[in-house]
Subunit: 134 residues, 2 copies
């Protein structure tokens, strides 16, 4: 099945500062967290520390949702429902690209010396681009 595309009315939200990541917690309930993310040529990618529960959730169950609210107009949002693939980012190459988006933050400083990160790529099977204000 081809990956559904994001309508041009909502592609600006791929450059928003924050998104909400939905995963499935061990008890089966949805777990939601605010995350930094990167728009990699239209593909949404997140840098996660492997020690975090949301990363463990995705390792156990790839079901994921990236939800981006237009904070200036909360009637407008983009929902990317799909699956996450995780790849090692041992040298922080991707984490550094995310840090650059956020004013040059060094994500190593958040993780401590034993930190390990993965690149999480969200591949949507369903895209909902909503604007209730129109």
């Amino acid at each position: 099945m081809p990956t559904p595309s994001i309508p041009s009315t909502h592609t600006d939200l791929l450059d928003a500062p924050v998104a909400t990541l939905g995963t499935i917690a061990p008890d089966g309930r949805p777990q939601l967290s605010a995350v930094w993310f990167l728009n990699d040529d239209g593909v949404v990618k997140i840098s996660l520390n492997v020690a975090r529960q949301k990363t463990k959730n995705l390792t156990a169950n790839s079901a994921a949702n990236l939800f981006i609210l237009d904070t200036a107009n909360p009637a407008r949002y983009l929902e990317l429902r799909g699956d996450a693939t995780l790849e090692p980012d041992n040298d922080y190459a991707f984490a550094d690209r995310v840090g650059a988006k956020y004013g040059g933050v060094n994500l190593r400083d958040m993780d401590g010396p034993d930190g390990k990160r993965v690149v999480v790529t969200i591949t949507p099977v369903r895209v909902n681009a909503v604007d209730l204000s129109r």
Copy 2:
């Protein structure tokens, strides 16, 4: 088990204009939507049209998450992970209370003449009050 309480640092978010509701879609993936909600004396309640997929999701699986982002400071958020209970709101008594919060909106106008609504109450089993900016 007693319902976990919301720390006073984050109770103001119960009066925010918008929240993100997480449910479990029929395919097992998290489904996220922006929702209006009401702070009913510290208890979070939502008015949903029964015809919407998120309402069907909650009828099939009560697992729910209400996530409130501080849109003025997206490093701060409140996550209420728990279960939803649904009660009929055939006379729109609760929907009218929600409409009053949103400047006197009549939710019947959104639903059409055959609309049916339920009151969705979120009972958290876990509360995450996050402020990464502190």
